[in-house]
C-alpha cells in the first residue's frame, strides 16, 4: 500500500527498467518462438518498444499512472507490429487507470490490469484460448482477483498469480492460433508456445520481482 505520488512514479520507472532488462535477455528466444509460426520479429519489437518506453518514462516526475501512460505511447510508437499496438496500449491503459486511483493498492492494480486487458481485447478482438498473449494475462488476472478477495497484499497476490500465468502460457503450445499471423496456419500452428504469451509472462515476472523487493 503506497500513496499515489512521485515515489510511485519512480517505482514505475524502476519496474520498466527491470522489465526491459528481462526482455532483452530473452530477445532471441522470443524471436525464435515467433518465427515458428509467425515472422520472427517479436523479440526485436518488444525490445525496441521497451527501450522507447523507458526513455519516455524518463521525463518529468509524475505519479506512476502518468509515467506508464507516457511509456505506453512511447512503446506503441517505436515498436510497430501487432505487439507494438497491443502491449503499448496495454501499458497505456494500465497507466491511465492507475493515474485515477487514490492509492496504489492491490485493488487499484487489479483494476488497472482489467483496463489493460479490455484494451487488448478491444484492439485485437481475440479472446483467451486463441493462442495469444491473453492466455498469459487472463489467468493471471483471475488469480490476482481471487487473491485480492482473500485480502492478500499486492506482493502475495502477485506471487500467487504468476504460476497461473505460466500455466496459461504453457497451454498455448497445444492451441491452434485464431489471431495474428499464425492464424493462417491452422493445425500447423500447434506445437509451439505463443511468443506474445511468453513475453507477457516475462514482463509479469519481472514486475513481480520489483514488487517483492519493495515489499521486503
Amino acid at each position: 500500500m503506497r500513496d499515489n505520488d512521485a515515489d510511485g512514479g519512480r517505482l514505475a520507472q524502476t519496474i520498466l527498467a527491470h522489465v526491459l532488462a528481462a526482455v532483452e535477455a530473452r530477445e532471441l528466444e522470443l524471436g525464435r518462438l515467433d518465427a515458428a509460426a509467425g515472422d520472427g520479429d517479436h523479440g526485436a519489437g518488444m525490445v525496441r518498444g521497451l527501450r522507447a518506453a523507458v526513455a519516455a518514462a524518463d521525463g518529468p516526475e509524475g505519479v506512476a499512472g502518468d509515467i506508464l501512460a507516457r511509456a505506453g505511447t512511447g512503446f506503441t510508437d517505436a515498436a510497430g507490429g501487432a505487439s507494438g499496438a497491443l502491449v503499448g496500449s496495454w501499458i497505456g491503459a494500465i497507466g491511465r487507470s492507475l493515474a485515477g486511483a487514490d492509492r496504489l493498492d492491490v485493488a487499484a492494480v487489479a483494476d488497472a490490469l482489467d483496463a489493460g486487458q479490455a484494451m487488448i481485447q478491444r484492439l485485437g478482438k481475440a479472446k483467451p484460448g486463441d493462442k495469444t498473449m491473453l492466455d498469459t494475462l487472463d489467468p493471471f488476472l483471475r488469480a490476482l482477483r481471487r487473491a485480492v478477495e482473500t485480502g492478500a497484499t499486492l506482493d502475495a497476490a502477485w506471487a500467487a498469480a504468476l504460476p497461473e500465468a505460466e500455466a496459461g502460457m504453457r497451454a498455448t503450445a497445444e492451441m491452434i492460433a485464431k489471431r495474428g499471423r499464425a492464424a493462417r496456419l491452422g493445425e500447423r500452428s500447434r506445437g509451439h508456445v505463443d511468443a506474445g504469451a511468453m513475453s507477457l509472462l516475462i514482463i509479469l515476472t519481472a514486475v513481480g520481482d520489483v514488487i517483492r523487493q519493495q515489499a521486503a
Binding site: 524471436g31 510497430g80 495474428g180
Partner: protein, 333 residues
C-alpha cells in the same frame, strides 16, 4: 544467406536514407516520420493514397510511391507494421484536404496500427477511409474472403487507388474503386526456401529438401500446407486452377496477370513458370492483359513465387492503363 548491412538497429534508417538519396526525383522523406511521399505532395484537392507495411518487401510498399500510384508510404521495420503514430504523421504530411485513403495488406499489426492513426485523424475532423488488401486465396476459405491476407495483388490495388486519386476522383470514388480492385484480385503463392532477416544468422524458416510450401506468407511465415516439390508445369496448373475456381462474380474474360518472384526465385524460372501458365489461362478463357513478371512484392531473399489475376472491367482497365512514375514501376502515358 548473409545480408549486407551495418548495425542491424540502424537498418531501416539507412535503408530509407539510401532510398531517398537515390530516388529524390520521385520521392521525398516525410519530415519526422518513417515514411516517404511523392515529390509535390500534398496536392490541394487531391485524395492522398497512403500505403504502408513492414519493410523487406520492396518494391512494396514504398517503391510504389510517386505520380499515379501511392501518395505516401509508411515504412516499418523488417516484417513489422509501422506504428499508428508513424502512419498518422505520414498521413498528416500528405493531406491535401480531399481526404486520406489508407490501403495496405490485411495483417493484424497493420490493421491495429493504421486503425489508431485513422482514429486520431477522424477525431481531428479528417476524412479517412481504409481498404484492406485481401488477395491470398489460401489464407481463408471463400466465405471468409475478407479475412484473407494481402500479398502480391496489392500492386494492382495500389495502382487503381493511385490512378483514381491522380485524376481527381473524390474520396468516396477512390475508396469504391480501390475496393473493387481488391475484390477482383486473387493471388496464390508457393515457396521453396525461407529468408534471412538482416542481422540474423538463421533463416526465418526452412523448407525440407524436396518439399514446397503452398500458401506462403510474405513475412517468412510457413505456408498453409506443404507438398512434394512439383515441377514448374504442375505449379502452373495448381495456381491457375486455384485462381480460376475463385474468379469473382462478373469476372469477364480479361485479367491483368502478375507473376511475382519473392526474391530468391529468379526471372528465368518465372518465365519457365509462365510458359506453363499462359496456355492454361487461354484454356480457361482468360485473356491475359499486359502480363508483368518480376519482383513486385518480395520477402527478402525467400525462394518462391505467386500468380495474381486482377480481373478488369472498363473502369479498372482505365486505372490500370493510366501513367505512373515511381522508383520501382513506370508506366508511360
Amino acid at each position: 544467406m548473409r545480408r549486407m548491412l551495418n548495425e542491424a538497429t540502424a537498418f531501416r534508417e539507412e535503408m530509407i536514407g539510401g532510398y531517398v538519396a537515390a530516388f529524390g526525383r520521385y520521392v521525398a522523406p516525410v519530415p519526422d516520420a518513417s515514411g516517404v511521399m511523392a515529390v509535390g505532395a500534398p496536392r490541394a484537392g487531391k485524395v492522398a493514397v497512403v500505403v504502408g507495411g513492414g519493410s523487406g518487401h520492396y518494391p512494396a510498399f514504398y517503391g510504389l510511391v510517386g505520380r499515379g500510384m501511392a501518395t505516401a508510404g509508411v515504412i516499418g521495420e523488417i516484417f513489422t507494421s509501422p506504428s499508428g503514430e508513424q502512419a498518422y504523421r505520414v498521413a498528416k504530411a500528405v493531406d491535401g484536404g480531399a481526404g486520406i485513403l489508407f490501403t495496405f495488406g490485411n495483417y493484424g499489426g497493420d490493421v491495429m496500427n493504421f486503425a489508431m492513426a485513422e482514429g486520431r485523424l477522424l477525431d481531428e475532423g479528417g476524412d479517412v477511409r481504409t481498404v484492406l488488401v485481401t488477395d491470398d486465396v489460401l489464407a481463408a476459405p471463400p466465405e471468409e474472403a475478407e479475412d484473407r491476407r494481402g500479398i502480391a495483388g496489392g500492386f494492382y490495388v495500389f495502382k487503381a487507388a493511385g490512378a483514381s486519386a491522380e485524376r481527381g476522383d473524390d474520396l468516396a470514388t477512390v475508396e469504391a474503386l480501390t475496393k473493387r480492385a481488391n475484390a477482383r484480385t486473387r493471388t496464390i503463392g508457393v515457396a521453396f526456401a525461407g529468408c534471412t532477416v538482416p542481422g540474423q544468422d538463421e533463416p526465418l524458416f526452412t523448407v525440407e529438401p524436396d518439399r514446397m510450401e503452398i500458401g506462403l506468407g510474405i513475412h517468412g511465415e510457413p505456408g498453409v500446407r506443404t507438398s512434394e516439390l512439383m515441377p514448374s508445369r504442375e505449379i502452373a496448373k495448381l495456381m491457375v486452377d486455384s485462381l480460376v475456381a475463385e474468379a469473382p462474380p462478373d469476372a469477364g474474360s480479361r485479367a491483368a496477370v502478375l507473376v511475382n518472384g519473392l526474391g530468391g526465385t529468379k526471372y528465368e524460372e518465372l518465365f519457365v513458370l509462365y510458359d506453363g501458365i499462359a496456355p492454361l489461362l487461354a484454356a480457361a478463357g482468360i485473356e491475359p492483359y499486359e502480363p508483368l513478371i518480376g519482383e513486385f512484392v518480395t520477402s527478402l531473399d525467400m525462394a518462391g513465387c505467386s500468380l495474381t489475376l486482377h480481373w478488369l472491367d472498363d473502369d479498372l482497365r482505365a486505372l490500370h492503363d493510366a501513367p505512373a512514375a515511381t522508383p520501382a514501376f513506370t508506366r508511360a502515358g
